[in-house]
């Protein structure tokens, strides 16, 4: 799709309205380069973004405590000025301050519960000791006791520090990240010298219950009651929180809506520059959408503005985004193409060709009515789990079914269905010839596309002399002609030989001229590269023999399974057939898939697809908030 570079000059007060209009049209891809005019150096959207970010963070934190149950409803689109955003941010700040108290209270309850659990565990541990634990609760005349827990990683260091202070530290239990310890040392009138160390070590005192002489069951009952009490407190707190938050639901929903409307300007922040009251904004717009964009701006902006558009300059080609093909059928194939790269601007989108050739090769290599049907049905079954990709499986299955009819193969049986053409095993040589012919056609088409792509960006010399260009294609055709002559007449032929030599020389001379290296290195590189051209084209062509090799392989694997099944009893026969077919489906299906991808990426894309473009990502108005 043809793109235009647009430049929009608006008054800064109109920026929120302009950003909203651009987002609504879904046709503006921001250009982040700073403008050439040096005076346009202020970042007018920075304050807006700061306020927005804080408001968004506050809303996220609040809605963690007061979940908004209603799905976001996108009401009327309106311009959000910075003053409104500031007011909203301040209000959210007040609400968060109040909500924060509830969160702190919940944290206090969690802490208390954790301590009770540790106490329970500690007392279970004390149960076997034959000492009066009540003594540990108090400071005696000569000794002071610290019973508690601390992070295990601080234990060793605290042990040394306690020794230096004249204390004895005994670890009686280690559980999770914590160690439970008893520290005993001399009592004094002043604050314990160990107190700051204990604070630094994150020591937490475990209170010893007052009535330790009671039965353990009673003590545990006490703890259980305390925990029930804490759970009740927590529930009450949640109810209070809910009651407190109830009146704010509508306002919070409105706040969410406001932030969604403010978001486009925040997204544009990096592309905005201004000087005084004049703001500058640039971006890429599909040529067909420029008029609509201008019309939309005229409707929404109250102040004058200037919108200019121009064609992308040659030096900007790499910056122009590519609008992807929108087709539900091609979408899963586009995903696979995207793994290699995104078409650069002006480059042919390989997705349709990729889809057709992929299906043809997959079907030919894995042609079986039964297996194809299983693949298609499995893909339909998984459509909810992989909604974007299931069609790929369906098409691959259909292709496999179609070739299954052509080869007369169903679950490996070659004699059930009448073949529309023939079974691959009946004439393997013919199959190999077909694959070779397919490969030659594939490589020629790939080279032609590569030549077209270079011509489309005005690179005429590249189209003629670069790798996989016109000269390279002529070499390939001459090489094929010679090869054909060798196979039929037993001689390469003078015309073919001369053509190969001339084209290779042309390629070598071109490379020589474009190499910047010492002469010795140039000779080495040119010789190797020329040799490489011959080897690459020969091996790439032969590489397509795998298309027929796998169709033969499919039949051969089925034969192997039938042979194994025939060696079993009737039950074993059925089990072997089922397991064998699963084996073929999973293993061979997977390998075929990888092989086809390899042929596409290596033999195809490397010839005509640079994949160094970037996708058109227009400014848009999100209909769903991130906090949901």
């Amino acid at each position: 799709m043809l793109m235009k570079h647009v430049r929009l000059l608006v008054l800064t007060e109109d920026l929120p309205a302009a950003s909203l209009s651009l987002a609504e049209t879904l046709s503006f891809h921001p250009d982040l380069r700073p403008p050439t005019e040096t005076r346009l150096e202020t970042l007018p959207g920075r304050d807006y973004r700061e306020v927005f970010s804080q408001a968004q963070a506050r809303l996220t934190k609040i809605t963690r405590l007061i979940p908004l149950t209603t799905p976001p409803r996108f009401a009327a689109v309106r311009v959000i000025e910075i003053a409104e955003l500031r007011t909203l941010n301040a209000w959210l700040g007040d609400i968060w301050e109040q909500a924060s108290r509830y969160e702190e209270e919940l944290r206090r309850l969690d802490d208390a519960e954790r301590l009770i659990k540790e106490q329970q565990t500690a007392l279970e541990n004390f149960a076997d000791l034959n000492i009066d634990l009540r003594l540990l609760r108090n400071k005696t005349r000569f000794l002071e006791f610290h019973v508690g827990l601390l992070p295990r990683e601080h234990l060793r260091q605290l042990e040394g520090a306690a020794t230096l202070a004249g204390y004895i530290l005994s670890t009686y239990m280690q559980q999770g990240e914590n160690a439970h310890v008893v520290i005993v040392g001399p009592a004094g009138d002043k604050e314990s010298p160990l107190a700051p160390v204990l604070a630094a070590a994150g020591f937490q005192t475990l209170p010893i219950p007052l009535e330790l002489d009671r039965k353990p069951a009673e003590l545990q009952q006490d703890f259980a009651e305390q925990r029930v009490n804490l759970a009740a407190q927590r529930q009450t707190l949640h109810q209070q929180l809910q009651q407190w938050g109830e009146p704010f639901h509508a306002q919070l929903s409105a706040a969410r809506h406001t932030l969604l409307l403010a978001e486009p300007l925040v997204t544009l922040d990096a592309a905005l520059r201004s000087a005084g009251h004049l703001a500058h904004l640039a971006g890429w717009v599909p040529a067909t959408a420029v008029a609509t964009l201008e019309q939309r701006l005229q409707q929404s902006l109250t102040q004058p503005f200037d919108l200019t558009s121009r064609d992308p300059r040659p030096d900007e080609r790499k910056l122009v985004p590519t609008v992807p093909i929108k087709s539900r059928v091609l979408a899963p194939f586009a995903l696979l193409v995207k793994q290699y790269g995104i078409p650069a601007y002006g480059e042919i989108d390989p997705t349709p060709l990729f889809a057709v050739t992929f299906l043809l090769m997959f079907g030919m290599m894995f042609g079986d009515v039964g297996h194809g049907a299983v693949i298609a049905l499995a893909a339909i079954w998984a459509r909810h789990k992989i909604p974007d990709f299931y069609l790929f499986g369906v098409f691959a299955g259909i292709s496999s079914i179609a070739f299954g009819f052509i080869f007369g193969s169903i679950f490996g049986y070659e004699d059930v269905l009448p073949a529309l053409w023939m079974s691959p095993l009946h004439n393997p040589i013919l199959m190999l010839e077909v694959a070779l012919g397919w490969g030659i056609a594939f490589i020629i088409v790939a080279c032609l596309l590569g030549i077209y792509n270079r011509l489309a960006i005005g690179d005429v010399i590249g189209a003629v002399f670069e790798r996989h260009g016109v000269v390279n294609l002529l070499f390939y055709l001459a090489f094929l002609g010679g090869g054909f002559g060798l196979a039929i007449n037993g001689a390469f032929g003078i015309t073919a030989t001369l053509s190969v030599i001339v084209t290779l020389l042309a390629l070598a001379v071109f490379q020589w001229q474009h190499l910047h290296a010492p002469t010795g290195e140039k000779i080495l590189v040119v010789v190797i590269e020329t040799l490489d051209t011959i080897i690459v084209y020969l091996s790439n062509t032969l590489s397509f023999l795998r298309v027929s090799a796998f169709s033969l392989n499919h039949v051969a694997l089925a034969l192997a399974i039938f042979t194994l099944a025939d060696m079993m009893g009737s039950f074993g026969h059925v089990v072997t057939l089922i397991l064998g077919n699963i084996f073929i489906l999973v293993l061979e299906g997977g390998i075929v898939m990888i092989q086809v991808m390899r042929l596409q990426y290596y033999e195809g894309f490397s010839r005509y697809f640079s994949g160094d473009g970037h996708a058109f990502a227009p400014l848009r108005l999100r209909r769903e908030s991130v906090i949901n």
């Binding site: 804080q54 963070a57 506050r58 700040g93 968060w96 301050e97 924060s100 969160e103 702190e104 944290r107 992070p151 990683e153 601080h154 060793r156 260091q157 605290l158 040394g160 520090a161 306690a162 020794t163 230096l164 202070a165 010298p193 160990l194 700051p196 160390v197 604070a199 630094a200 070590a201 994150g202 937490q204």
Partner: protein
């Protein structure tokens, strides 16, 4: 593949980078360079920008120098395996921890958000701690809650105590430093046989320096008790191990500590009468150990770490010179500062050369 082969790329990289380190002869020349020359040589364009305030220019320069160091760190990380990376990253995390300390202090004392942000280092994602949430915390309690739920939950209780009892966050910051060095020691102790001895030696010198300086400062400048002092120290992989630190922390005078030091520290610090002198000698000895490691070590990781430490020290020197120029200190003050930094260098000879 042999150990030498797997480390070949990293070793070559380090050797190439090591040519960027300041030779002692170049320091005097650097100290005499003017701001435009410094800006040109080190690509510090912010130095030439007259518009912002001095403090802003200084911060931008500091940030630029930090970027240089961390960019080199990231280059050295690339050929390393996961464990080696973790060690070098643990060393580089000191800057993320500076940010964490700034954030905690800023929130505890309710500093202005903008001012707080200006004092944070802009770090690459690989070093950055997930402190964005901490920054967004709107009050101390929220900050404490976030600390408790994150990777720093171990220091959260201390932070709460600092807040609730209105204590000075010194102990908290000491705990962060302690965790930093303990993490590095843990990584070293779990490193492979090829690196263990060299890394222990390299970090041992650094940890000996840190432990001794902390010990002297805590005991005799802040007058902290032996037990609390000992608790804040990190046992070294060098000579100041746990037992040595227990013994030294219990001594009651500066001189007795220096006398009781094990070799080679006792010889190195013999005749020192002040903390500043000790600091200078230790700094010099550590730099020497790092240089030796960079030249002689069999372990590429130890060499990488030694290079980064030396480079960091060089960039500190450069920053000090730039600060001196920005504040328009006389040449003699800048030179004197450098002489204090490298006390064992013969400056008179260098100037004559």
């Amino acid at each position: 593949m042999s150990h030498a082969a797997t480390q070949a790329y990293l070793n070559t990289r380090i050797s190439v980078m090591a040519t960027r380190l300041f030779a002692p002869q170049s320091l005097d020349r650097l100290a005499r360079m003017l701001l435009p020359e410094l800006a040109e040589q080190f690509g510090l364009t912010a130095l030439l920008d007259e518009q912002p305030a001095l403090a802003t220019r200084s911060r931008v320069v500091e940030q630029s120098l930090l970027h240089i160091l961390l960019a080199e760190l990231q280059i050295l990380l690339r050929p390393m395996n996961a464990a080696e990376r973790a060690l070098v990253l643990a060393w580089g995390q000191k800057y993320a921890l500076f940010n964490l300390k700034t954030l905690i202090r800023g929130k505890l004392y309710a500093l202005d958000q903008k001012e707080l942000r200006d004092h944070l280092y802009d770090l690459p994602p690989i070093i950055r701690l997930p402190h964005q949430e901490l920054f967004r915390a709107e009050n101390v309690l929220e900050l404490l809650r976030q600390l408790e739920s994150g990777q720093y939950h171990q220091i959260a209780r201390q932070a709460r105590e600092v807040y609730e009892k209105h204590r000075e966050p010194f102990a908290l910051e000491a705990a962060i430093d302690q965790r930093y060095y303990s993490t590095i020691v843990r990584h070293i102790m779990s490193s492979g046989d090829h690196h263990l001895n060299n890394l222990r030696q390299l970090m041992g010198a650094e940890l000996d320096r840190v432990a001794l300086l902390w010990l002297l400062r805590f005991r005799f400048t802040y007058h902290i008790s032996p037990s609390e002092t000992y608790y804040q120290l990190v046992p070294s992989t060098g000579v100041l191990n746990r037992e040595q630190l227990l013994k030294l922390a219990n001594l009651d005078s500066f001189e007795r500590v220096l006398e009781a030091l094990p070799a080679p520290l006792n010889a190195l610090l013999n005749g020192c009468h002040s903390l500043t002198e000790v600091q200078q000698q230790l700094h010099h000895a550590t730099r020497q150990a790092q240089r030796q490691m960079l030249i002689r070590s069999q372990s590429a990781v130890a060499r990488a770490l030694a290079y980064l430490m030396l480079r960091e020290a060089d960039l500190h020197v450069l920053f000090a010179i730039i600060q001196g120029r920005l504040l328009q200190f006389p040449q003699s003050t800048i030179t004197a500062a450098l002489e204090l930094n490298e006390p064992n260098t013969n400056w008179a000879e260098l100037r004559a050369a």
